[in-house]
């Protein structure tokens, strides 16, 4: 992976100072701390999925100016994520997350850099503080606040309610908002969870779990109802990401291995299904909406709504199973949100417009991936070591 970073950086940014520095850093890091770097099983799957999505986007996206730039950026981001999640400690992870967040926020020429960087930076601050409070500890209250900070940091890092940036954008999404919620975020959060969980005492874990589940529900409802009430497709897509992340948070917050597996599955779903579709929707959103839906759109709607046999359904199935074994009213609340979920799926699918033939192949592959996640979730989970 580090070799990849070196290569990419060298190829792309030979002319810049940053390129040399990054290449040196990656090389140095690889040589010096080599033994400390290890990629966990679930991260391997996630990184492979990210790479596959990047390839998919490169092959099947309708050609548009700036696509190459975005793809190169994505490749570099992928490499940095790999570096971050394979690093030796949480601080290493935090440092690279900051760099990634800053780079991601710098994507796109418009303003708003500071707003975009705000949430991840605060996330890193809170994770660092939480880590410190738990490590120093000595006092139940302090440790609980530490666990709280870790959970809030996770939520802030992913840019979710209540830490998300303002969702008012009209028109196509910027690459920055795409990349963070749908591409880099999932892998980073997965890395965070793997580093945080083993160090929590039961008392701290309780706080961490409660906060994540609570904010997960908040995000789930905010996403579902926000998308439901949105008219602008771009806004609707963002809310749909938030809803998906809500499921992830609940899964990660339930703490049982099975539930964390659900979170992993949902994150994979975001990366492999929602993210590419969102990328392809950006072009269609710019053009006036079409009447009616094609068959492909219907299938996509079903996949986005979490219908069986697509990915979302297995996530819902396993999540409800895990939730009800902890506390069944939680499962009931989840069901309410899931029941309202399909309300916006058809409009999302319509916002994709009629894809050109090349992109239609991409749709097919995404649907196939979603099908695989939905039909054999057990296989995907066991690949990830859950």
């Amino acid at each position: 992976m580090s070799a990849l970073v070196v290569g990419v950086t060298w190829l792309r940014w030979r002319g810049h100072l940053a390129g040399y520095l990054l290449a040196a850093l990656a090389l140095g890091g690889w040589l010096a701390a080599g033994p400390g770097f290890a990629v966990a099983t679930e991260q391997r799957v996630m990184l492979a999925a990210l790479a596959a999505v990047l390839l998919l986007l490169g092959l099947f996206s309708p050609s548009e100016p700036g696509l190459g730039e975005v793809l190169w950026g994505g490749l570099l981001g992928l490499a940095l994520v790999a570096l971050a999640v394979s690093g030796p400690s949480l601080t290493w992870w935090s440092a690279l997350v900051l760099a990634l967040a800053a780079g991601c926020a710098a994507l796109g020429a418009d303003g708003g850099f500071a707003e975009r960087l705000r949430a991840p930076a605060i996330g890193v601050v809170m994770i660092g503080s939480g880590q410190m409070l738990i490590a120093v500890g000595g006092n139940v209250g302090v440790e609980r606040v530490g666990a709280l900070a870790l959970a809030l940091g996770l939520v802030a890092l992913a840019g979710l309610v209540p830490f998300g940036s303002e969702i008012t954008a009209r028109g196509p999404a910027t690459p920055a908002s795409l990349a963070w919620a749908g591409f880099l975020g999932p892998a980073l959060v997965l890395g965070l969870v793997a580093r945080v969980l083993p160090h929590l005492t039961p008392d701290e874990a309780e706080v961490y779990s409660a906060v994540l589940i609570g904010l997960g529900l908040v995000n789930l409802f905010a996403g579902v109802f926000g998308a439901w009430g949105s008219i602008d497709p771009s806004r609707m897509w963002r809310f749909s990401f938030i809803a998906d992340w809500g499921l992830v948070l609940v899964g990660l917050g339930l703490l049982s291995p099975a539930a964390i597996g659900v979170g992993y599955l949902a994150l994979l779903g975001i990366v492999v299904v929602r993210m590419p579709l969102y990328v392809w929707s950006r072009r269609a959103i710019a053009t006036p909406p079409q009447e009616g839906l094609s068959r492909t759109n219907l299938l996509v709607a079903a996949a986005l709504a979490g219908a069986a046999p697509f990915a979302g359904f297995s996530v819902r199935l396993l999540l409800l199973q895990a939730a009800s074994s902890l506390f069944w009213p939680l499962a009931a609340v989840l069901v309410v949100a899931m029941l309202c979920w399909p309300a916006h799926a058809f409009r999302l699918a319509r916002s994709l417009g009629r894809p050109d033939p090349r992109t239609r192949w991409g749709f097919g592959l995404v649907l196939a991936a979603s099908l695989a996640l939905g039909v054999v979730p057990g296989l995907v989970l066991s690949l990830g070591g859950y």
Binding site: W13, T91, W92, A95, A106, I127, G128, S129
Partner: protein, 177 residues
């Protein structure tokens, strides 16, 4: 040693506050440098010499990178910076109180430095809408979070700060990392 530790905390605070209260490249660069020096000193006082040097190196690098673009001059304590000043004071007092009352006997000076720098960095990130200051704040956060986690982690923090600082402060068409 005590003097060194107190000096480190004061330097770190002054540096962070300089970042928070500046809008020019010189003020910001100086702030980052000072904060890094403070952190390095605290590591040195804790007996981690190599780490201290690396952190200092990172701080110098980050400061140098910040010096290359963005708003010109010092821009320190411009008009309307009273809330910033009060926040900066709170950023010193808050961690101090935390260290004294909630973590009695457990907070090393390096940890205190880290807390101060992190708080100031977070404040910069939260308060500003400008890219230059936001980047500087993120760099401070990276330094501070590293320092809070221990000597070895402080190096990672410095690496992160350097990486963040590589980004240009203007939204020109420079490639992103």
């Amino acid at each position: 040693m005590l003097i060194l530790e107190v000096l480190a905390v004061i330097l770190a605070w002054l540096g962070g506050a300089a970042v928070l209260l500046s809008s020019g490249r010189r003020g910001i660069a100086l702030g980052i440098g000072a904060a890094g020096l403070g952190l390095g000193l605290s590591e040195f006082a804790a007996g981690a010499g190599e780490e201290a040097i690396l952190v200092l190196l990172g701080a110098l690098l980050a400061a140098g990178l910040r010096l290359r673009d963005g708003g010109r001059g010092w821009g320190t304590l411009g008009p309307g910076s009273t809330p910033g000043l009060i926040s900066a004071l709170a950023a010193l007092l808050g961690p101090l109180l935390l260290a004294v009352y909630l973590l009695p006997g457990r907070a090393e000076p390096a940890l205190l430095c880290g807390m101060v720098v992190t708080t100031l960095g977070a404040m910069s990130v939260m308060a500003t809408g400008e890219r230059q200051l936001s980047l500087a704040g993120a760099a401070l956060v990276a330094f501070g979070v590293g320092a809070m986690a221990g000597p070895e982690a402080a190096i990672y923090g410095a690496v992160g700060a350097t990486l963040v600082s590589m980004l240009p402060a203007s939204a020109a068409s420079r490639p992103q990392p």
